[in-house]
Symmetry: C2
Subunit: 178 residues, 2 copies
DNA sequence: GTTAACCTGAGGCATCCCCTCGACTTAAGG
DNA sequence: CCTTAAGTCGAGGGGATGCCTCAGGTTAAC
């Protein structure tokens, strides 16, 4: 049923996806599709041939990013030390934000269904860290969300300094008396 | 030389400035001027009669906001307790951000000349708090700027919770051992 | 060589915001 | 009142930007 794409068509399709990754990272989820085509060195018509609806291309990229984020959370859960696990997740999330505007948008500004999955994992990261006494007792998932949201602007405005801010915030998460 | 405005003209001019305050607070510094006219219940032509260049109206509002911010810093410096002074400044700044998008933009995203004045005052707030031992030694003006920048996004995305985030951040500013 | 698949990019459409200007309205002074 | 200069109105011209289509030229594949 599914005829394979002609070789050049396949190459172009791949180029479009790669270009979309770059452009969305730079300009966010509603970057103009013409910028994507241009980056891929193709005409806008070609883009529409492969992805007739705006959603098609964007969805592909968003899917990738969400999957990547979920994997990140899972890997962090597998780290033996609970505190390190939590820090690893937060730090790498913040780093993604500093380099990928589209990721930032879906991480803190949108309300995807897929976020539910990540939220569950974050809850486990938090519960584990708290049980180990590494996290302030009154800090919950919501607070970490605020944390990530806060970083999104810092990373945007001053990409060279988000890490400094990040470490200050981490200090706020530790229990008061050691 | 300066004929006074006709009474209705003066009333309209005032209405425009008031409308601009509201609209800029809601939509940021580059809100469409037509929204301002509409809010004032006037036609766009009237707005242009009073403020022939875009800058004229915006500048008036920006001026107000900067002045207000400087006054806030001065008041905070006059509080007897250094830590309270710093907190007061930060908290009221964050609160302004939560209600005024134009303020947010000029407070963390732009590079006005007038910011110099505020920066000097902030430096004094910081120096004073540190001398009193209320502030972590390694925290400087830059860190507070990041703090304010961070809040701007939190206040935008989740206006009901910026205060919670604010208090967590304050904890990060205190010296480690009490 | 044939042909179906593919590529191209100018251009029509829509949205948004800028600002102007000629016709109309009204405050203010006599 | 009446005059008139000051003020108001809002349709509309102009420029950006982005979406998407389609007629005509190109090329992979057999």
């Amino acid at each position: 049923m599914e005829r394979p794409l002609r070789r050049d068509a396949q190459r172009n399709r791949d180029a479009l996806v790669a270009a979309a990754r770059e452009v969305l990272a730079e300009r966010g989820l509603d970057a103009p599709l013409e910028a994507v085509a241009k980056r891929a060195g193709l005409a806008i018509g070609t883009l529409y041939r492969h992805f007739p609806e705006r959603g098609d291309l964007i969805d592909a990229i968003v899917g990738e990013k969400v999957t990547g984020w979920i994997e990140l959370a899972q890997e962090s859960l597998e780290l033996p030390d609970p505190w390190e696990g939590l820090v690893s997740f937060l730090e790498r999330t913040c780093e993604l934000q500093s380099r990928d505007r589209a990721f930032t948008e879906l991480a803190c500004l949108s309300h995807l269904d897929d976020r539910a999955e990540v939220n569950r994992l974050i809850e486990r990261l938090v519960a584990r860290a708290r049980r180990a006494g590494s996290l302030r007792e009154d800090v919950g998932v919501t607070d970490l969300a605020l944390f990530v949201i806060a970083n999104s602007r810092v990373a945007e405005v001053d990409p060279g300094r988000w890490r400094r801010h990040f470490h200050l915030m981490l200090d706020a998460l530790r229990p008061r008396s050691e």
